[in-house]
Symmetry: C2
Subunit: 204 residues, 2 copies
DNA sequence: GTCTATAGCCAGATAGAC
DNA sequence: GTCTATCTGGCTATAGAC
């Protein structure tokens, strides 16, 4: 856990804050609800984090630090391109089952505050696709995959993995399935996504 | 325009409300800001729409009624499967350039209030993929495309089209490009997406 | 460190003049 | 229909006892 250095009250606050902020977003989250969830008094939130804004920032950084390794996994691993695609698609589904609201939270708050991106990009451990790009370009040159821009392939991989969770309510309505059937579709995607991508780019 | 039956004040309110709600979401939107944007007094918002909640619902329904035809276009057109994919991917980019915040707004508010979905699915004109599904199944049987579940293909199409706009801030950071270069990537996707999908499913 | 009580502000909603 | 002024409630934040 990334909260292991904090006292029990402080980590209870951070955990509750994560839950509420990720589910409701900064604007709709209530300090009172976070306090209730943590089973402590509202004043304690201010004692440890001074303000809602600072608590939010702590939560955001913590959330981003959980997502970043997932993305770095695909980009910087010492594996073949196809293996990266297979592993990422397989692992991402498992990750989201554990943290269902996390990716949406990050995307929302980045959209609401684009300047955030610049701060975060500058930080250590921010994922960078340059290595992935190099690998894609090589595979194209070798004739293993058809010509495609690494940026577009990367965007496709992210889209196919992330969107089905973020847009789950919309997609459930459109595909007209209940929660259980939708969950089953997501389960299938652990392999479906990689198949779909590799079928598209692999030269026979 | 879907506001053509409204008086000029009422339509000014609805247009401003759309802009503010879509950009900030229900929780962060301010009635005062909507009034300012419309160039009228805050009291008028309540005169015409009674409450923030009712104004929000009017905006949401209006927004959804703009998105639904875009989706119906791919599903119910009398064209071949490949043509549907090509047209949708091409048109969707143009649609989002006109309404940049709309898809994200709909997805967010559906997530915050899942019961909304049930109400909306029940309404007239709610897109339904049964025809698309039938078409996919036929093409699989005829050997035009490889075996794939229509639901998964549909989710893939939606993901590849919608996510790059919703996740634009995150993707800009990860791909490490500025606004101008990212816009260029989106421009390329008008054809890139359909190529990517058709390459994946078409049997040679 | 943890609580209760409350200050202070801000936003949604309404009253009432015109 | 449109405005100004104001009420009311809720939320962040702090003061102060323990």
């Amino acid at each position: 856990m990334d909260t292991k250095e904090l006292g029990s009250t402080e980590s209870a606050i951070l955990n509750s804050a994560k839950e509420i902020f990720e589910r409701k977003g900064m604007a709709a989250a209530r300090m009172q609800e976070i306090a209730d969830e943590a089973g402590i008094n509202k004043a304690m939130l201010h004692y440890y984090y001074r303000s809602k804004q600072l608590l939010f920032e702590a939560v955001f950084k913590s959330a981003f630090s959980m997502l970043a390794p997932q993305i770095n996994g695909i980009i910087n691993a010492e594996t073949s391109l196809f293996e990266k695609i297979i592993n990422f698609s397989n692992n991402y589904v498992l990750f989201v089952l554990k943290h269902p609201y996390l990716p949406n939270f990050i995307i929302q708050e980045l959209n609401r505050n684009p300047d955030f991106v610049k701060q975060i990009v500058a930080e250590k451990n921010f994922p960078n696709i340059s290595k992935f790009k190099q690998q894609v370009d090589e595979e194209v040159k070798k004739g293993v995959i058809r010509p495609i821009k690494a940026e577009q392939l990367f965007i496709n991989i992210m889209s196919l993995n992330i969107f089905p969770f973020i847009g789950s309510q919309l997609l459930k309505g459109l595909v007209n399935v209940n929660d259980e059937a939708y969950k089953q579709l997501m389960e299938e995607r652990k392999t479906e996504i990689a198949d779909f991508i590799i079928n598209s780019i692999k030269l026979k």
